[in-house]
Structure formats: structure tokens, C-alpha cells
């Protein structure tokens, strides 16, 4: 069925079709609508969900964790300060290997206050042990939420699905939605490893671990994320086969004969596609690589796919204050370090606090990248695109 929906509406609709056992959430711009719409599904009896209208995002994640430990399928939605307030609990959700799925409408972090899009919120939770999916458009947002449930419950890892705040969350788009039964069949039933509610087999969950055991727990958790890629790619392939929409973890756009590419996450992928087309019209052999997963970092795929380019310009919608280069560029440089010859990996930061990024901006980046390719030398430090 084809419908007109905003990104928030599409994600809320996916949640309705998933019909989770528990949703605990707190409103925050620009993700408020997700919980608002979802609570209307609850009020109208369209879902079986227990909706816990908590008093903060910290409590939202705490309640989701409680529900998941009790063996329930739990979901939430947030953004920005809300995700920051949850920060502590993100680590507990992943440390307990709980398959919680969270919708995020990406937004900058205060101060100064700003409600518009950048990736400060999700990228700041990079080390929290969550799988992180960045979506190009609302269709992908909708599809990713459904995939996320399957991925989370197969890997026993929590997943956040990020759509760009306002740019996607509030923009009406053409969305192809699945039938409820198709969604239910795809996600299947949750099979929790244990339940706190199993009173006949009482367990203590999340005890204190001293230096003699903590390290092993964290090492095992890291392995869980290291092992996630094949599971993710299987879910993506199954989804593509069932519904005809394919979203690889790393997707090249007009990269076959390209020496120079940009690497992008989120809605700017769409903008970059136009910029590539424009550059191609001018006869420049440039391309774009879309990165869908920031965690797990798909370094195997990145080595395979990015290593062959001469220049990989990394566009990051986040400022990591005083890091040598931006967060994604740091990862790419580390990843390609042992590739010989190693591509130039210049770092660009754009679009903070919702500052618009246009095809022209990205074409200007391409001009710089082409010049670097010619010289065989890059500007080492971060370039800020569109800052006045």
C-alpha cells in the first residue's frame, strides 16, 4: 500500500505493525510525534501494547530495560537531550544484551539550544554498544524499524534507528507500507533468553562484577557486536527478497569508475546523489558511498569497498570537539590504514544545528577532492562546510 506519511508517522506506523509489548517514552522535539501517534494507537485499541508515559527519557529507557528483562518486546523513541539523558541506561541495555529498538529523530545537542538536525545525539552514544542505523529517507526509516526488531532479537543487541530530525521526521513522503501480517511474519516471535518473571527459576540480573569477571563480560559483549554483521546482512537480504527493497550496509552510487567519492550518512545521502549526478554531467568521474550502519562499524566492507578509491571525502554531520578529524573520518582512516596504497581521507563537517546543505555545497567539496586527487595530497584537518 502506498501512503503519504512524514518520517515520524512512518516510524510510528511501523511500531504499530510491530505491536510491541511495552512502549515507554517521553516526548521531545523532533521525535514527539512518534510517541504521540503511537499513544493514539494505544488509546484506540489498535495495539496490545502497555504504554508507559514515563516522566523522563532516563525513566523511558529504564522502563524499557525492565520490560525487556521481564521477557517483553520493548520500544521507545527519542532525540537529542532525551538521548543524552538516557546515556547511562544505553550502556545497561546493551550490557544486558537486551533487544530494545529505539527510533531517533536526530537533533543537535545544547548548548546553545537548537531543535534541528545533526548527528551529535546518536554519535555521542557511539560507544554505548547499540547498533546504529542512519536512514536516507522515511521509507528506509520505516523499513529499518522493522528490520531492527529482527536484527536486535537475533543479535541480542539493542538497535537505534535514526532519521534526520525535521528533514525526514516532519517531511511528507511517499511511503510503501507492508501489511500487518507481513511485518509480523518477518519479525517473528521474541524468544527471550530468560525472564525475570519466571518465578519458578529465580535469577539475579545485573549483579556487581569485580575485576575478576567484569572484563570477560565486556569482552563477550564486544564479540556480540563483532559478530553482528553476517546477521544484519542476512536480515537485509531476507527483507529484500520478501519485499523488494534492498538496503546494503554500504552502498555505492556511481562508483564503478570513480576515483573520488564522498562517504555520507543520513538524509544528506539523497543530496549527495544529486551532487554526483551534476558532477557527472560536467564530466567528472565522482561517486558517493552511503554508510547505513555506524555501529557495528562495517570495517570489513569498508576495506573492500573504499580501499580502491583515490580520495574518500568523509561528510560528518557532527562536531567531535578537538578530535583530529571528525568521528566517521577517524573510523575510515583507521580502517584503511593498512590498505596499500591508502586513499586520501579528508574530513568535512557540515550541517550542524540544521544548517542547510545543498547539492552546490557538496559539488564544492567534490571540486576540492578532485584537486587533492590531482596533487596527491589532502588537507589534513577538518574542513567546515557552510559555516559563516
Amino acid at each position: 500500500m502506498i501512503v503519504a506519511k512524514t518520517g515520524n508517522e512512518a516510524m510510528a506506523y511501523a511500531m504499530k505493525q510491530i505491536n510491541p509489548d511495552v512502549v515507554a517514552a517521553y516526548p521531545i522535539t523532533p521525535s514527539t510525534e512518534i510517541v504521540q501517534i503511537f499513544s493514539s494507537f494505544v488509546a484506540d485499541g489498535l495495539v496490545d501494547t502497555e504504554y508507559v508515559a514515563v516522566e523522563s527519557e532516563h525513566s523511558a529507557m529504564s522502563a524499557c530495560i525492565g520490560a525487556a528483562v521481564a521477557g517483553a518486546r520493548a520500544m521507545t523513541a527519542t532525540a537529542s537531550q532525551g538521548l543524552a539523558l538516557m546515556h547511562e541506561m544505553l550502556f545497561i541495555a546493551s550490557g544486558l544484551r537486551l533487544p530494545i529498538v529505539m527510533c531517533v529523530a536526530s537533533r543537535s545537542l545544547s548548548s546553545p539550544l537548537n531543535i534541528h538536525c545533526d548527528h551529535s545525539d546518536s554519535v555521542a552514544s557511539r560507544d554505548a554498544g547499540w547498533i546504529q542505523i542512519f536512514c536516507e529517507n522515511s521509507q528506509e526509516g520505516y523499513d529499518s524499524v522493522i528490520q531492527a526488531v529482527k536484527i536486535a532479537e537475533t543479535c541480542y543487541l539493542p538497535v537505534m534507528v535514526a532519521i534526520d530530525g525535521f528533514i525526514l521526521s516532519h517531511c511528507m513522503d511517499r511511503i510503501e507500507v507492508l501489511e500487518d501480517e507481513q511485518v509480523q511474519k518477518f519479525i517473528g516471535k521474541l524468544k527471550p533468553n530468560y525472564s525475570l518473571l519466571d518465578v519458578k527459576n529465580p535469577i539475579t540480573v545485573s549483579p556487581a562484577c569485580l575485576p575478576d569477571s567484569y572484563f570477560e563480560h565486556k569482552r563477550a559483549q564486544a564479540q556480540g557486536m563483532n559478530d553482528a554483521l553476517p546477521i544484519i546482512e542476512k536480515v537485509i537480504a531476507d527483507f529484500a527478497q520478501a519485499f523488494g527493497r534492498n538496503y546494503p550496509v554500504l552502498e555505492g552510487y556511481r562508483t564503478d569508475d570513480a576515483e573520488v567519492v564522498v562517504l555520507v550518512m543520513g538524509s544528506t545521502v539523497g543530496t549527495a546523489r544529486i551532487a554526483v549526478d551534476e558532477m557527472r554531467l560536467k564530466g567528472e568521474k565522482v561517486g558517493m558511498v552511503k554508510l547505513r550502519f555506524f555501529r557495528p562499524l562495517v570495517y570489513q566492507r569498508m576495506k573492500e569497498r573504499l580501499g580502491r578509491f583515490k580520495v574518500v571525502g568523509v561528510l560528518d554531520r557532527v562536531e567531535s570537539v578537538n578530535s583530529y578529524v571528525s568521528p566517521l573520518a577517524t573510523e575510515v582512516r583507521a580502517c584503511l590504514y593498512d590498505v596499500n596504497p591508502c586513499p586520501l581521507v579528508p574530513s568535512y563537517v557540515y550541517g550542524l544545528g540544521g544548517r542547510e546543505i545543498t547539492p552546490d555545497d557538496i559539488m564544492a567539496v567534490f571540486d576540492e577532492l578532485l584537486a587533492m586527487n590531482k596533487k596527491g595530497k589532502m588537507k589534513d584537518e577538518v574542513t567546515y562546510v557552510g559555516v559563516r
Binding site: A24, E55, H58, V69, T204
Partner: protein
């Protein structure tokens, strides 16, 4: 009414061999609560003494399901557990009644976990929140909380040359819970097991949130010999510093009135944390302490008489 004979027959659900200090009031309270509880129960606790003494991996003292999440969110966590129970019960995945108990210290209840507690009570989840009130952050080494009594020396309200200990009065957490129009709230202590057991049973038979504040003396934090825990608990009641009372269906009830109200110094003098108050120059502080205990006691008596 729980009889001692009856309670003795109940299996111990909090095992011996845990790492609590000798004379720890907190674990006595947990054992009493679990003996009295209507089973089965599923429990949650925040980070604190209780978690550290009862769960060091791979050991656990808990014979009932127990989930430790973080410090400030026991009530939010149990909200999620209870919400999961409701929906799984509806779906037929869970087929029996379960009672939910959160055990928090005064730090996790009065202070850092207060917002989550207020939210969970307002939302009306069916759970009992037990505050194990030992009047300071004992787990991190005796720092003041908003439950710490006036004048007490703690490591963050030290009795110094200029400031003689904590200069604020403790927060009346039970009254704050009552202000939520909670169906059941009570205050008790470990010395009166019968009172405690009855309150736990009443609380768990309520279809909604309930709250019990239990005074649990701490030998290390209060500075008294470990064999005096029950005496400390009794003196707190006999001096009317710690009234045993409850709030049920909109009505106050005083559960115990001492035949002869002891001066509060009887309770204070056995504790190192109040030792400085007994210096001659601090006599005014002791007087002030007594005055405030009297004021609060009389206010409570008035409330129970008029059902204010």
C-alpha cells in the same frame, strides 16, 4: 495478622552468606519483608549497599527474581517490569499473580531516585516500594542524604569547627508519598516485626502503588556497636523520632504511641554521628532537635486524630 509462628515457617528468601556488615539493619528488613510478602514476588533494587552485599558475581543471596538496574531508577525499572507482566498476562504467557517489590536505600529513594518514584506512583503501577532508610549514603561511605537527621555528622556534612554537622531537617518522604494520594503508605522499623509484616501484607494486597519507609540502623554509618541495631531501632520509635504509622484509603493511623515518650537524646547519645551535639556549646542544637521531634510528632498525632 502475621504470627511469629507463621512467619518462622516461611522459607528464607534472602540467603545467609551475603556480605553485609554484622548488625546491618538493611538485610534484617529485607528478610522480614520477604518473609511477610505474599508470594510469588519479583524484585528490583537500585545500586547501593544492598546490591553490593547481595549480588557479587557469581553469587547471589536472592532466592527470588531480582533485577538491579542503575541507581536512580528502581521505580522506573519496576514500572517496565510491571507493564511487561500486565501485557504478558493478558496474552496468556504468564499465568499467575505476581507481586512486585522495589527495595531502595534513602539515597535511591529520597534523592536521586525521587523523580522516578514520583512518576511511577503517579502512573499507578501495582508495586510496593520499600525504602530501606539508613539515613545517609552508606555504600559510598556515609555521605549526607535528604534523609539524614539534623545535626548528624556525615562525610559530606562533617561536624567541623564552624558547622556542627548537617544543618537541615530530614525530608518527610512518607508525607510526600501521601501527597501523591497513594493508596497505601506506611512507616515502620525492624524492631517491630509484627508491625512491619502487617504493613507489607497490606501494601501487597493493594491494587496500585504502595510505599513503606523502614528505618534500618547502620552500625558503621551511625557509629554504634553492631549488637545494638534493634535497640537503635526501638529507641527511634520510643523517642517519637520515628513514628510507626500508616496511610490507608485516605486515612492516617498511628500504630504505636509510647507509654512514656523518651527524650530524643536517649536515641542520639548512643551514636557517634551525634557525639559533637553533646558538647556544652551545642546544647542549643539538642534543644532544637527535641523541639523539632516534638513538633513533627504532634503534627502527626493531629493528622491521625482529625484525618486531615
Amino acid at each position: 495478622m502475621a504470627s511469629l509462628k507463621e512467619l518462622c515457617k516461611e522459607p528464607e528468601l534472602f540467603s545467609s552468606g551475603h556480605r553485609a556488615c554484622a548488625g546491618c539493619g538493611e538485610v534484617l528488613a529485607v528478610r522480614q519483608v520477604l518473609l511477610a510478602a505474599i508470594k510469588p514476588v519479583v524484585c528490583v533494587m537500585p545500586t547501593g549497599c544492598l546490591e553490593i552485599v547481595s549480588t557479587i558475581y557469581p553469587h547471589t543471596a536472592w532466592q527470588v527474581p531480582m533485577f538491579h538496574n542503575a541507581f536512580e531508577n528502581a521505580a522506573a525499572t519496576i514500572s517496565g517490569v510491571e507493564a511487561a507482566y500486565k501485557v504478558l498476562r493478558k496474552k496468556g504467557i504468564i499465568n499467575q499473580d505476581i507481586n512486585f517489590i522495589a527495595f531502595g536505600g534513602d539515597g535511591g529513594t529520597y534523592d536521586i531516585g525521587f523523580q522516578a518514584l514520583s512518576g511511577a506512583v503517579e502512573r499507578g503501577h501495582r508495586f510496593l516500594y520499600v525504602c530501606l532508610d539508613n539515613e545517609a549514603y552508606m555504600n559510598t561511605g556515609i555521605q549526607r542524604s535528604s534523609a539524614t537527621p539534623f545535626g548528624a555528622h556525615t562525610t559530606t556534612s562533617p561536624a567541623g569547627e564552624k558547622i556542627p554537622g548537617k544543618m537541615q531537617w530530614r525530608k518527610e518522604i512518607v508525607e510526600i508519598m501521601i501527597a501523591h494520594d497513594i493508596p497505601y503508605a506506611a512507616q515502620t522499623t525492624i524492631q517491630n516485626w509484627n508491625d512491619l509484616a502487617n504493613k507489607v501484607r497490606k501494601a501487597l494486597s493493594i491494587n496500585g502503588p504502595s510505599f513503606i519507609n523502614i528505618l534500618v540502623p547502620c552500625p558503621l554509618g551511625w557509629g554504634y556497636p553492631s549488637e545494638k541495631t534493634i535497640e537503635m531501632s526501638r529507641l527511634a520509635v520510643e523517642t517519637c523520632f520515628w513514628p510507626l504509622y500508616e496511610w490507608e484509603n485516605g486515612t492516617y493511623r498511628l500504630n504505636y504511641t509510647p507509654k512514656e515518650k523518651k527524650p530524643v537524646t536517649e536515641w542520639l547519645k548512643g551514636q557517634d554521628r551525634f557525639r559533637h551535639l553533646f558538647k556544652p556549646e551545642n546544647k542549643n542544637l539538642l534543644d532544637e532537635f527535641q523541639k523539632e521531634v516534638d513538633r513533627r510528632w504532634e503534627r502527626l498525632v493531629r493528622r491521625t486524630q482529625t484525618n486531615y
